[in-house]
């Protein structure tokens, strides 16, 4: 069937901010959908609150709304744009839920909007546990014993029928949020209560435990003529009980015979047909009992998912793109498989001739009190994918691509320790993020595959592979690298050992291994991902390295630029950097360069094979990048766009003779090296907070004596404020130096005077060596001391005087010139008592680049990439700072609801996973929208608990008055209450926790508090207030820990009644 002519315009809903369970894979799917529909001449309307996405680039849609994904706001967009259809399957659970809300509230009917891709009935049937179970039993598929409960009474009744351990899954939550496995009554009650609360329909599925069963996924695509294809099968190395997002997964499935595979294939197709997924991609999950092959269905996602992104990258089949085309009426046979240059239609099943391994990336270090046991609730923040000729090769490539300082299956347990065996056993049984390393250590300890299987339930096939790697390591351990001959070296590399891991085993340097390897002429070849196992001759340059006979890279002799991507997402390094890399590639392609992308993050747009001329899906380690450089010999390399990941390689790449274009790596080093940087600031006569660098506790104490407390302390060379803290006294400093960081000469500790109550500012600028143009000045809402990535900010600044801003501009220009910046530069400044302080400078793409670009209507990453390739700012006609008339506010989004029990206080260590943008005529309305989009907008009235630290008390009265005027009634502790009463404000009093019950936490637990404003003094205050914040999180009471944010929130509430929507394209025209 050709495309539908009755539709003219289509609304796509994005996934909103990056959160755990919903990451940039939905930028990938949304961007593909936009492109696919516009190619067919449909008018595409897009809503997504996340500015850091490629899909919200003004060129991607006809009408782009960076607005909250919330049905009332989306209704306004529908009212204005009058779309014929809504495509809800590209934006994860967020988009599906929003679409269902629109349907439920009659909006779609009112404006005559048709849901395409998935109908309401199908979504309900797939997501409602009861309906799904009924449907599966109807088509004769097995499911674990289970029943649905809507309250605790029902929950207990169900539990008795299924026994312990019990699996609890709340309905309609993202990434399995709020779910878990209970081993006893107490845990059961806790998880159920939380789940009932989190589920928008107050619904739980309580089921028989099939923990330890093998877990499989099938990625299925179906069209309106009932043509069905399987894109990819995926086997989870971690068995049932661990969320698939937190599992190591392997494609294709390894341990199924054809008979079993076809049963699963037939079941997948039957599921799609029964659920009624008429067009598009879905994901079906299965569990299989390893003892007798009993197969049960776990769930299905009636939409493009994280696994579809993985399957797309694993096979080269663009699922989102095809799903979008099917939604508008095409059938699979009418679409080309583009990776084979249209030689085959999309109606086939990809065959792959390599092994793909995905490993999740965790960031538990950021949430010290979080339960880091892996369960059915997803906790990982990113993932890495690797392609290899064998499982061992792909596993080891993925491990080194993770960027957790592992270069392979590095040992993590001291095997000589008394408790080594117990430690390993317990880590194999109850998995945490690093279980794979414990599995390896178990073999190092001499355990058998059977023993390790009994503990971990990881399939023996995978265990034998891991054991194989370990036994190879034991064979070569301690060998002199020069005794390794070509055959041996080839055999080792074929198993995926990195030069770095071999160096550890040979007790030599990584470069000596590389030298030896090159002497023996053992080098990787590059093979193509072509979706057809080489059956057809294809031209698409989607490549991976491996140690085999023949190289298929066929590099061209065009003028080419290589862009190093950002690797796996983690806190501090997310989608923003992928956005920048994609822009660099697109801009330079437009200018006639051949662009080459290297990245290993399957969730990204940059790893789409058609974004760059050539894509190398490779870990971003020195070894792997050098290998690509050797084959491609690019004219220039961009290391400044992928965050810290490629920057770490800059010096070594330069040393090896690679031509790094843009800002010189030495300038990056200068900016990061505190001592060199201070010297530069002195030369420029710029101020920075008093500071020092300590290499020992004694030095640190001396510095503290000299500059006084409070101090910001952190190790040098960190991203996202890792291990950064504010210390208020000598004891805290001592504790920090002892416990938090291992002081070594390699990474000294930086101590800065903490500028309390200062206003923090971020400035992005571009310099071409001659001119400097300010991209944007962002004023933070939270005061200095909160990590810039976690702070809300406003562009333009909302309260700084123009002469202060001018002075800041001048300082930025001076530094950019001094550093010889060619490209982007980000500066963080603080303004305190009439003085400007430079906090830090990063001469590279920053997290704020996409936000600024959207706010000012100019793609900074694009312009700066051209600058790096030699085109001046003048030549690009970008010579003047753009100060928009509207306000844009960026707000951070946090994963605290996944880590209950972790204090959600903001501090110098970054903990947000994503961001949203609010656009408004003035600061207040923009701020309000950002809050709405972030999902933590304050209620308009009710009971507010106010408790301010002494430093903020002078603002208490003003705040109290504004709160009262807005219609809030005040509750406070004694000292605050007294001040408020004195000022004539009515205020209820409540005990501090330390004063005994009934206290404030009781009030929160009883749902008597609607809003909390609580700023805290120091570490002691933090401990006291933590209970308040933790309970606030559980009971979903909005809270703020800074006075600045409280005022901004009040301004926003006032603006709220005149909520408007703004089309991005009309904003800058």
């Amino acid at each position: 069937m050709p495309k539908r002519q009755d539709l003219k315009s289509i609304l796509i809903i994005g996934a909103g901010p990056i959160v755990i369970g919903q990451a940039c894979e939905f930028d990938y799917s949304g961007a593909q959908a936009c492109t696919a529909l516009r190619e067919e001449w449909y008018r595409v309307i897009l809503v997504n609150s996340n500015p850091a996405t490629i899909m919200t680039d003004p060129k991607m849609a006809d009408a782009t709304y960076i607005e909250p994904i919330e049905w009332r706001t989306v209704e306004k967009i529908i009212e204005k744009e009058k779309p014929d259809a809504l495509l809800p399957t590209m934006g994860g659970q967020t988009a599906l839920n929003c679409a269902l809300d629109l349907e439920r509230h009659g909006v779609l009917k009112k404006y005559n909007v048709e849901m395409i891709g998935a109908k309401k009935e199908a979504i309900d049937k797939a997501e409602d546990r009861d309906l799904f179970r009924e449907a599966m039993l109807k088509i004769g598929l097995d499911m674990p014993k289970a029943a649905v409960a809507h309250n605790m009474e029902q929950a207990h009744a169900v539990q008795e029928t299924v026994g312990f351990p019990t699996v609890i899954r709340p309905s309609f939550t993202m990434g399995g949020s709020g779910g878990g496995i209970a081993y006893n009554k107490e845990e059961f009650v806790e998880i159920c209560e939380r789940g009932l609360d989190l589920s928008p329909t107050n619904e739980l599925l309580i089921e028989e435990s099939i923990l330890g069963w093998k877990e499989f996924e099938m990625e299925v695509v179906r069209d309106s003529k009932d043509n069905c294809i399987i894109i990819c099968s995926i086997e989870n190395l971690d068995p049932m009980g661990i969320h698939t997002g937190d599992s190591i997964t392997v494609a294709p499935a390894q341990t199924l015979t054809d008979k079993e595979y076809q049963v699963m294939r037939n079941a997948s197709l039957a599921v799609l047909r029964e659920i009624g997924i008429d067009t598009g991609g879905s994901n079906v999950q299965f569990a299989l009992n390893p003892e007798d092959g009993r197969l049960t269905i776990i769930e299905m996602n009636p939409r493009v998912s994280r696994s579809s992104a993985l399957a797309s990258k694993a096979t080269g089949f663009p699922i989102a793109r095809v799903a979008a085309k099917l939604a508008i009426g095409y059938t699979l046979d009418e679409l080309d498989n583009e990776i084979t240059n249209g030689k085959t239609p999309a109606s086939f099943e990809p065959s792959i001739d390599y092994v793909v391994t995905k490993i999740p990336r965790f960031d538990f270090e950021k949430f010290p009190n979080a339960d880091d046991r892996l369960t059915t609730q997803m906790k990982s923040v990113g993932e890495v994918m690797a392609i290899g000729s064998t499982f061992q090769e792909s596993l080891q490539k993925a491990l080194r691509g993770l960027e957790t300082d592992k270069v392979g299956l590095d040992p993590i347990v001291d095997l000589r320790a008394d408790d080594a065996r117990n430690k390993i056993r317990s880590e194999c049984i109850s998995a945490r993020g690093e279980r794979i390393f414990y599995l390896a250590d178990a073999f190092r300890l001499g355990m058998s595959v059977e023993e390790v299987f009994d503990l971990s339930k990881v399939d023996p096939w995978f265990l034998a592979q891991i054991q194989g790697i370990v036994s190879t390591e034991l064979q070569i351990n301690g060998t002199n690298v020069t005794d390794i001959d070509a055959d041996k070296m080839f055999a080792l590399k074929r198993k995926g050992f990195s030069d770095a891991r071999l160096a550890q085993l040979f007790c030599c340097s990584e470069s000596s291994v590389r030298e030896r390897r090159h002497t023996l002429n053992i080098k990787p070849v590059f093979k193509r991902v072509d979706s057809c196992a080489a059956e057809f001759d294809t031209q698409t340059a989607y490549l991976y390295s491996t140690y085999q006979l023949e190289c298929e890279s066929n590099p061209t002799d065009k003028k080419k630029i290589m862009i190093l991507g950002g690797g796996p997402n983690h806190i501090g390094q997310g989608i923003e950097f992928d956005y920048c890399c994609v822009h660099a590639s697109l801009a330079l392609r437009e200018d006639g360069f051949e662009t080459i992308m290297i990245n290993c993050n399957p969730e990204t747009v940059s790893t789409d094979y058609d974004i760059s001329d050539r894509l190398y899906f490779e870990p971003l380690t020195l070894e792997d990048v050098l290998a690509v450089i050797e084959v491609e010999n690019p004219d220039g390399i961009i290391v400044h766009y992928g965050g810290q990941t490629p920057l770490k390689l800059a010096k070594a790449l330069e040393k090896s003779g690679a031509n790094i274009i843009g800002t010189n790596p030495d300038a990056i080093d200068l900016a990061e090296d505190r001592e060199r940087f201070s010297k530069m600031l002195q030369e420029l006569e710029l101020k920075q907070p008093l500071n020092g660098t300590a290499r020992s506790l004694e030095q640190a104490q001396d510095i503290a004596d000299a500059i006084g407390f409070p101090l910001v302390v952190r190790p040098s060379y960190v991203l996202g404020g890792r291990a950064m803290e504010i210390v208020y006294d000598k004891d805290s400093l001592k504790r920090y130096m002892h416990t938090t960081v291992q002081v070594s000469n390699d990474s000294p500790i930086l101590l800065d005077s903490f500028l309390d109550h200062a206003i923090e500012v971020d400035i992005d600028a571009i310099c071409d060596g001659e001119d400097v143009v300010i991209g944007g000045i962002m004023q933070h809402i939270e005061q200095a001391g909160i990590h810039s990535g976690d702070s809300a900010c406003s562009l333009p600044p909302y309260s700084l005087a123009s002469d202060v801003l001018d002075e800041m501009r001048a300082q930025v220009v001076a530094m950019a010139k001094k550093l010889n910046v060619v490209g982007l530069m980000n500066t963080q400044l603080a303004y305190q008592d009439g003085e400007i302080y430079i906090i830090e400078v990063n001469p590279r793409a920053s997290r704020t680049v996409p936000f600024v670009s959207k706010a000012i209507g100019v793609p900074l990453a694009n312009i700066a990439a051209r600058v790096m390739s030699g085109v001046s700012l003048k030549a690009q006609n970008f010579t003047k700072e753009i100060i928009p008339k509207h306000f844009s506010v960026k707000e951070a989004v946090f994963p605290f609801n996944k880590f209950l029990g972790v204090d959600p206080i903001l501090g110098p260590e970054m903990r947000s996973t994503g961001e949203v943008m609010g656009i408004g005529k003035d600061f207040a309305s923009a701020f309000d929208k950002a809050q709405l989009a972030a999902g933590d907008r304050a209620p308009e009235n009710g009971k507010v608990f106010v408790s301010l630290r002494r430093l903020d008390r002078n603002e208490l009265i003003d705040l109290g008055k504004k709160l009262s005027a807005q219609g809030f009634s005040l509750v406070s502790t004694r000292s605050n209450r007294d001040m408020l009463n004195e000022a004539g404000l009515a205020c209820e009093v409540i005990n501090k926790v330390s004063e005994g019950s009934p206290h404030i936490v009781d009030m929160i637990k009883n749902d008597d508090i609607d809003l909390i404003i609580n700023s805290i003094e120091d570490t002691q205050g933090v401990t006291d207030a933590a209970a308040i914040r933790c309970q606030a999180l559980v009971h979903k009471v909005p809270f703020t820990t800074t006075v600045a944010a409280a005022f901004a929130m009040l301004d926003g509430l006032k603006a709220n009644n005149k909520l408007t929507i703004t089309k991005l394209q009309s904003l800058h025209s």
């Binding site: 003529k225 008979k259 003892e291 046979d333 001739d353 080489a534």
Partner: protein, 373 residues
């Protein structure tokens, strides 16, 4: 340490690897198969007689072998080429590793081969004569000469080589993973199967649909068949070139004259086409895989099919009473035919799957329908 092995191709290309099967040497036509699953079914498929199969998926042997997944009573492939034989077997049904199974069946096989490079080579050069030799210090020139000495498949009638010597009855239905046994059903139709190299799953799927089967030798005179008064005759798959099988073509012509319902798969489909007057041709490297997209020209429905053929029905001189019913969307080649005004039809791919998707299983129902008419 396992022994070394070497793969030599007629054009002089040499691949070094490890021996993972029996010792010795083997000759055959080297083809590649892109199916990810089903190596045991492939090894035991009689259609692979005198072919050395290279599997493109790297890990072959993960699930070991078991007695149920055999498509015939022995391994028919002349040899096996893979990239990696895994360290462990993992499957609840497995009772023997692939390596042991190959040795037991005296099959020479080689691993640690850059199978993708080999596939690219065959893709450009076409299927090549080849030779696997195990052992150290193999004379490469001799190996190449050996490869060249293979007679090839063109004009080779292999159907009579693999066909059953004795007629036999078969009443075992499909294997049920749930019940872990073969289904059994009451028979309603008497069907004679011309065995040109039949796969067991074809027989099982016929039994599933109520057929009482007699499997006969490929050269059984048609009179003997007619004397059995069958409701239908099934023309099986099989190896080699269809054209030299004149005995089969003649028998089929007689069956067509009597309008006995006929269903041909693969070689059977080609023989049926030849019987009506079409011609066949040797393909460059054939179709061997489980992901081939085939369209039903009437319903426009697209099916993912299992394929294994090196010859195909030619587009030239298609007689008027042959209707093309299915085509490959990979290369537009003829995939299904029916004989005008007769209850006879054929399919080039493998509706019985095993290995591969079950999308085409409806063709067996069509056969039953034709017998019921």
């Amino acid at each position: 340490m396992s022994q070394a092995a070497l793969l030599a191709l007629e054009d002089g290309k040499i691949f070094h690897g490890k021996s993972i099967g029996a010792n010795g040497e083997t000759l055959g036509e080297v083809v590649f198969n892109t199916s990810i699953t089903g190596y045991q079914e492939i090894l035991t498929d009689p259609s692979y007689a005198q072919q050395i199969v290279a599997l493109t998926y790297p890990h072959i042997g993960n699930t070991g072998t078991n007695p149920v997944d055999e498509e015939s009573n022995k391994v028919h492939t002349a040899g096996l080429i893979i990239r990696d034989l895994p360290l462990a077997v993992s499957n609840w049904r497995s009772n023997m590793s692939l390596g042991a199974y190959l040795r037991l069946n005296h099959i020479v096989a080689i691993s640690d081969i850059d199978t993708r490079a080999l596939t690219c080579h065959i893709r450009t050069q076409g299927a090549l004569k080849g030779c696997i030799i195990t052992g150290d210090d193999i004379d490469q020139e001799a190996a190449i000469a050996n490869a060249q000495s293979f007679v090839g498949l063109k004009n080779m009638d292999l159907a009579q080589v693999v066909s059953t010597a004795q007629s036999y009855e078969f009443n075992q239905g499909s294997y049920s993973l749930e019940k872990t046994k073969f289904n059994k059903l009451d028979a309603k139709f008497k069907v004679v199967v011309y065995d040109y190299g039949v796969k067991k799953n074809i027989l099982r799927m016929l039994v599933d649909r109520g057929c009482d089967l007699t499997i006969v030798n490929a050269q059984t005179p048609v009179e003997a068949i007619l004397a059995m008064n069958p409701d239908g005759v099934f023309l099986s798959n099989g190896p080699g070139d269809p054209e030299p099988c004149d005995y089969a073509i003649k028998s089929i012509q007689t069956l067509l004259e009597k309008d006995v319902p006929l269903f041909g798969i693969c070689l059977g489909h080609q023989l049926l086409s030849l019987a009506v007057g079409a011609t066949t041709q040797k393909m460059k490297f054939g179709h061997h895989g489980a992901n081939h997209t085939v369209q039903d020209l009437h319903t426009k429905q697209v099916m993912i099919t299992s394929q294994n053929h090196g010859f195909s029905v030619s587009e030239d001189n298609i007689p008027n009473d042959l209707e093309v019913t299915h085509r490959s969307l990979f290369d537009n080649s003829i995939q299904g035919i029916s004989v005008v005004n007769k209850k006879a039809f054929g399919f080039q791919g493998h509706p019985e799957a095993s290995p591969g998707p079950h999308d085409m299983s409806g063709l067996f129902d069509t056969f039953i329908k034709k017998m019921s008419e």
